[in-house]
């Protein structure tokens, strides 16, 4: 454990409530300069609130923070930056109308003649920043809206690095990154300069490779600070959830694969060429690919969100040509979309309303969907994904990302679809929630449903899938099954046998 130390950031007894909702009860952490400190905790443990307090977005009700021995209580993001504290947020905070350069320099851009903003100087300054952090592949004049999710995440991270002279907060920085080498390099360089880093991630392996110490947050309190070299995964897990965890990584028991449920023949879209496969009843087919290899197009074309150029899709023998997701649902295909924030949740509504959306007509009595009926149906669906009943009547936008994801999975499963298209179902989700989601997916398959699942995490595929398609350049590069379905083979296949193993695969 760290002793009280003048250099770095000390957080002492911080508490924060929103009205009657208590987000943080008592949190104390010391971030030492030059060290990467992990923050672990389930979704809803209070991590986001702590991040907001550190970044100056909200002020704590009680408690104090000391930065290098001086009181630190930022009122705005700019206050925090002025003290050398910056954050790369989980929900990326890059306004989509700006260019990369503007984003990096906001709110004060470079001025030219007459004190007016000079686009040229702004771009030049940004190019310099991008170069400093080895991100030359992103053009400083590109619009944020034109970037891929991974590129946006990188820009977000670079911006935080740029403003963080003393303390850097990285909230799920790898959620959209398939490759973490670049990030880890930057982190090492930053710590070498004496910057304290608070690192938040659900990926324990990642955390172990970076951080010597971790603080565990549970129900709004910092319950323990542990030396990661001396604690094993189970101990950490127990600290996080408050009880020991069931054994992990059991390859799912293979049920006999039934008759074909989803048959795809020669599916072609502008980003996908001639993809064919079949999923049987009770089967989970994994999809693995690097960013942007057409996996999104595959899922969206099946769900009626993207136009098909050619190919045929049969659901239990009947052709399915959905023009919109509603049609796909009617054919028995349910989609869990990629972007939770924009395509998934209805932030203003309760979780219950979110969950029952596709089955409103079914749960009604004589056409009336009374609140009690909605709640009852939602509770039943929530049970399947282990979503706590108390969250069902909450505004879904107020829930943590993991609970939102559970609710969305509950919605997709409740829709009655026999084929689920799950696009990265555990993105940005903590360990406990992951387990619940895995269990729900397995249970669904065990009941005879068929699942097409893309995941950015290889172990997930290895664990859940019966077979796995590897997409490369919009085509099925290979199909792995049985003993081939393990991480090393997959890593090779992902890159089309072209390069060294990926960092993440190697790290595991």
């Amino acid at each position: 454990m760290q002793s009280s130390n003048l250099s770095g950031l000390s957080i002492e007894g911080i508490a924060k409530s929103y009205g009657a909702t208590v987000a943080l009860e008592r949190v104390s952490i010391h971030l030492a300069a030059g060290q990467v400190h992990a923050l672990l905790g389930e979704n809803g443990a209070g991590k986001s609130t702590l991040v907001k307090i550190l970044s100056g977005v909200v002020r704590p009700d009680t408690g104090q923070m000391l930065l290098d021995g001086q009181t630190y209580m930022p009122g705005t993001i700019l206050d925090a930056r002025a003290r050398g504290v910056a954050t790369a947020f989980q929900e990326l905070s890059l306004p989509s109308n700006l260019t990369v350069a503007e984003c990096l320099l906001m709110p004060t851009l470079r001025k030219g003649r007459g004190g007016l903003v000079s686009a040229r100087r702004t771009v030049a300054a940004a190019a310099e920043i991008l170069a400093r952090y080895d991100l030359r592949s992103v053009a400083p004049s590109a619009l944020i809206s034109d970037l891929s999710l991974a590129e946006r995440q990188r820009v977000e991270i670079v911006r935080a690095f740029h403003h963080a002279d003393r303390v850097l907060v990285l909230d799920e920085p790898t959620a959209a990154l398939s490759d973490v080498t670049w990030l880890f390099d930057q982190i090492r360089r930053a710590t070498a300069r004496g910057i304290a880093i608070l690192y938040i991630s659900h990926r324990l392996a990642e955390v172990r490779s970076l951080c010597p110490v971790a603080t565990v947050l549970r129900n709004g309190r910092s319950v323990a600070t542990v030396d990661l070299r001396q604690a094993d995964d189970d101990e950490i897990f127990e600290l996080m959830v408050g009880h020991s965890k069931a054994s992990e990584s059991v390859r799912r028991s293979r049920v006999t694969v039934g008759a074909p449920v989803l048959e795809v023949r020669g599916l072609t879209t502008p980003k996908l060429a001639d993809v064919s496969f079949t999923i049987g009843a009770g089967e989970i087919l994994g999809v693995s690919a690097l960013d942007g290899q057409g996996q999104r197009s595959l899922f969206y074309a099946l769900a009626g969100l993207e136009k098909r150029l050619a190919g045929e899709v049969l659901v239990e023998g009947r052709p399915s040509r959905p023009g919109k997701p509603g049609d796909a649902l009617r054919d028995g295909i349910g989609l869990l979309p990629e972007e939770r924030k924009t395509e998934g949740i209805l932030a203003n509504l309760s979780s219950a309303s979110n969950i029952v959306l596709p089955i409103l007509d079914r749960i009604g009595r004589r056409g009336f969907v009374w609140p009690a009926l909605e709640r009852a149906a939602a509770l039943e669906s929530a049970r399947a994904v282990e979503l706590s009943p108390r969250y069902v009547s909450f505004r879904i936008g107020d829930l943590s990302g993991g609970n939102q994801q559970k609710a969305l999975l509950a919605r997709t499963m409740a829709s009655g679809a026999r084929t689920l298209l799950l696009f990265d179902p555990t993105r940005g989700v903590d360990v406990g929630t992951k387990e619940a989601i895995y269990a729900a997916i397995q249970a669904f398959a065990d009941r005879g449903g068929s699942v097409l699942m893309y995941s950015s995490e290889l172990p997930e595929i290895v664990r859940l899938a019966d077979r796995c398609l590897v997409l490369y350049g919009g085509r099925v590069f290979t199909e792995l099954a049985g003993p081939e379905l393990e991480e090393r083979t997959m890593v090779a296949a992902l890159t089309g046998y072209t390069s060294a193993p990926l960092a993440r695969g190697a790290a595991r």
């Binding site: 309190r221 319950v223 969100l305 919109k324 979309p337 395509e343 209805l346 203003n348 959306l357 009336f368």
Partner: protein
């Protein structure tokens, strides 16, 4: 408070952080009605004859048109739109009612009343399709349909609407059943039916979903286009009903009949706490907003000061009401009463 070490009491994975359960919408509804009642009582100071049941009855009858029209406006706002054709549709249905049906209408003539509402609904469908299929902003599309419908009504009547109200509408607006004004019964029934439609049917729930996020609702399989078009059709129909009620009330139609209702419908919805951006709000709160605005009108009308200052006071009270109805205010009041 527990120190930052492992605490046995915490070993059970139980989240003890408290959470508020009072719904802000409920508070808005209660507040608007309470403010209205308060205004009525306080208006005794303005004139001794005010603050009576008679005044309350006036408020109910005057607010009924606004309530009906604001229902439609509220649905459209709920799906993230705005209906500027309310005024023209009120006028259109009034004009069609006096010309098609008229005072001496028999049973066959009465059947034309639903036909009028169908015309309104079709116009609403045009607005809705323009917005969903052609992607025209609701503001422009409904403004355009409004202008077109107004011009059509003008041309159709050559400027002079003929005829007067059919007997059933007169009865609706002025009749009584067992001493209770028929209008009150009708309005109450309308409010209940409309609130149930909005809050407790699949269609109503889908409206909320589309308003909260059209994209997410679409991905989740909601027929967004159909839902939005239906909202505009219902709005147009509600305006049509308000027009029919106005015909019964004033026993005739004029071409400017609806003009004074456009901004009040929006104001009623917003004062009732719905977000102008869609996805939130309840019809009962809108009713509260409509009643509050109408009460305000009757009280201010009795003030013995010039129209200029009267208008200033009206605007100020609307602002004060909005400030009082903010969620922050509720939170602050709640914090005074710790549990």
């Amino acid at each position: 408070m527990t120190p930052a070490t492992l605490d046995p009491a915490l070993s059970a994975s139980k989240d003890e952080r408290r959470v508020t359960r009072v719904r802000p919408e409920l508070v808005t509804v209660l507040s608007t009605f309470a403010l209205s009642a308060l205004l009525i009582v306080a208006s005794r100071f303005v004139s001794p004859a005010l603050g009576s049941w008679g005044q309350a009855a006036t408020v109910v009858s005057l607010s009924s048109f606004l309530i009906v029209a604001a229902f439609g406006q509220g649905l459209v706002i709920l799906v993230g739109g705005l209906d500027l054709s309310v005024a023209s549709l009120i006028t259109l249905s009034a004009v069609l009612c006096t010309t098609w049906v008229g005072p001496e209408a028999g049973a066959a003539g009465i059947l034309l009343i639903p036909a009028i509402l169908v015309v309104c609904a079709l116009i609403g469908a045009v607005s809705g399709l323009g917005i969903t299929v052609l992607g025209i902003p609701p503001f422009i599309m409904t403004m355009a349909t409004g202008i077109i419908v107004a011009a059509g009504a003008l041309g159709y009547t050559s400027g002079t609407p003929r005829g007067s109200a059919p007997a059933p509408l007169l009865a609706l607006m002025k009749g009584e059943v067992a001493g209770i004004p028929l209008l009150l019964i009708f309005t109450a029934a309308f409010v209940i039916a409309a609130a149930v439609l909005q809050q407790a049917t699949g269609f109503g729930r889908r409206l909320y979903a589309v308003g909260a996020s059209a994209r997410a609702a679409f991905v989740a399989g909601v027929p967004v286009t159909r839902t939005v078009v239906a909202a505009y059709m219902l709005s147009a129909t509600a305006s049509g009903v308000a027009g029919l009620m106005l015909v019964g009330y004033s026993d005739g139609a004029t071409l400017r009949m609806g003009d004074s209702y456009l901004l009040p419908t929006i104001a009623a919805v917003v004062v009732g706490g719905s977000s102008i951006l869609g996805g939130s709000g309840s019809f009962v709160a809108t009713v509260g907003g409509a009643v509050l605005l109408t009460t305000l009108g009757t009280v201010i009308a009795a003030l013995g000061i010039g129209q200029g200052w009267r208008t200033v006071i009206e605007g100020s009270i609307i602002l004060i009401a909005l400030l009082l109805l903010r969620e922050n205010t509720f939170a602050r009041i709640r914090s005074w009463f710790p549990r």
